[in-house]
Amino acid sequence: MSGLAGFGVLLRKELLEAVRTFRLPIVVGLFAVVGIGSPLLARFTPEIVEALAGDMGIPVPTPTVEAAIDQLLKNIAQFGGLTAILLAMGSVAAEKERGTAALLLTKPVGRAAFLGAKVAALGLVLLAAVAVATVGGWIYTAILFEAPSVGGFAGLGVLVWLSLFAYAVITFVASTLTRSALAAAGIGFVALVGLGIASAFPEVGRFLPPGLSGPARALALGGGAEVAVPVSAAVVLLVACLGVAWAAFRRQEL
């Protein structure tokens, strides 16, 4: 277990860093805007279109709770995916570049603990952000439309978090393999786009992180959803990515 030496101390440092560098409050604040803004946008889209279109008379369907949830999922997928990449891009690469990785790794710290603390902190920051967005989204959907199922909306939050965490971990692996945060971000962005395109094929899509949005929508609308396959696939992807990161990092020279 010496590889995990120092995990708790390092996780505390990572979380303190997220607060002190304003990463956590900024990301949570932005997700709150997305969570609250999505049902608002869905509700007032007809008025906005009418105001912009003037006398052109563009028909817009009457907004529903489904539209609010679709808007929330779409906005979180786009904005959240990019945020996850930005959060993870410098996790390891920037520390190697700045020399602070060498500062910590000459202390009694296992390399697994060093990586694990960073991944856990990433996951917790995203969890806080998604939780705020989900709660904000539920409240405004309830105010503007009707109250969705609490359990179903919580399920939506968990699945959304899992998909964003997958993008963060893919970028994290790239950050571990390279010495450049920019290169890691590039790899993460290519993965985001590539997985989005691949998920257009249903046979493949249900095994990929974007495939989690379908079950998330169904759960939020109070229906049942087949989550075992996409969740298992996402967990396998996460474990595989972390395995690659650890195998590469444990023998890296700093």
Binding site: S2, A102, L105, K107, P108, G110, E253
Partner: protein
């Protein structure tokens, strides 16, 4: 295990592609000494330290610290080491006290013991007043002192300092050397530098590296006796340039003389053997008809040893090329 050397390297080799940074280093550092690792730039000092701290992996051979094999991902090794990089980097958002607490916790310190060690260390490195300031606002000298602090806060068995005085002002340098002298009582200190005067002030033993190879190592006094021949300083009376020139020419030709330097009217003469030198030198002065106002035998310095050993290797390499 505790009686053996704290550092042992056996055939330690590091190559970066075609470049041999360290070539079969066999070295032992006894416990309780201040050990100077000397050498010109590119000699292999920092590579040796990176291998000892687990930041790099050897291409061949091995290194041990207190019986623990050195290499990446070895917390058991790092538990025994305090390390200061030649260009220490920290988290700018962190406060000085927080960094020392972080390092202390990683070494297993908790509660009152941690608080006491951090307070004592801050006082020792002169940062008590700046402890609550963000490290991002520290000056270069303050960062260097913080670097020393994080290296000693957990009272490691082995303290490794890579060029620790490089960014310090004269006062900071004096304080650091005094601190290294104090640490001798509790830790073994390995200290890399190319400032030879600092080594003479604090080190008990030295190793000289050049081109990735160990040139020599041993107690400082023994190296001075073995490698630095005596140097005589002759101070002729003014107004006798012809006689002084004749003396220098005669000494240059003598087989018992190593080097002769005429600088500012003063003649410095290195001789192979002090007994012969003392007698023959005065005879040469008389033969040249030079009147002296001063004649003294100077204590050899580490610089003399260093230049002789490293310079000799350079000459040999140059001849080979």
């Amino acid at each position: 295990m505790t009686d053996g050397p704290i550092v042992r390297t056996i055939g330690l080799t590091k190559r970066y592609g075609p470049i041999v940074a360290l070539d079969g280093l066999d070295l032992e550092v006894p416990r309780g000494v201040v050990f100077g690792l000397l050498g010109p730039n590119g000699a292999g000092k920092t590579t040796t330290i990176r291998l000892l701290t687990g930041l790099a992996r050897p291409t061949a051979g091995r290194a041990e610290v207190a019986g623990v094999a050195a290499g990446p991902d070895t917390p058991e090794l790092q538990r025994r080491i305090g390390y200061l990089d030649q260009d220490p980097r920290f988290y700018g958002w962190m406060r000085g006290r927080e960094l020392l607490e972080l390092v202390g916790r990683l070494h297993g310190l908790r509660g009152a013991r941690l608080r006491d060690r951090v307070a004592d260390t801050l006082a020792r490195v002169g940062l008590s007043d700046a402890a609550e300031r963000r490290i991002g606002g520290y000056s270069g000298g303050m960062r260097q002192r913080l670097g020393i602090g994080q290296a000693i806060v957990a009272e490691p068995e082995l303290l490794i300092l890579d060029e620790p005085v490089s960014s310090l002002d004269p006062e900071g340098r004096r304080d650091l050397l005094a601190l290294v002298g104090e640490l001798r009582a509790s830790s073994t200190v390995v200290f890399s530098t190319h400032v030879l005067g600092d080594v003479e002030r604090v080190c008990d033993r030295v190793a000289i590296l050049d081109h990735g190879r160990l040139v020599t190592d041993g107690p400082l006094d023994a190296l001075l006796d073995e490698y630095a021949g005596p140097v005589y300083r002759l101070d002729p009376e003014p107004g006798q340039p012809a006689q002084v020139a004749a003396l220098v020419a005669a000494l240059d030709a003598a087989d018992w003389v190593t080097t002769v330097v005429l600088d500012g009217g003063v003649v410095s003469v290195s001789v192979r053997d002090p007994a012969t030198g003392g007698r023959a030198l005065l005879a040469a002065v008389v033969d040249a008809g030079v009147a002296l106002v001063g004649f003294e035998r100077q204590r050899p310095t580490l610089e003399d040893v260093f230049l002789r050993l490293v310079g000799r290797d350079r000459d040999r390499d140059g001849a080979a090329a």
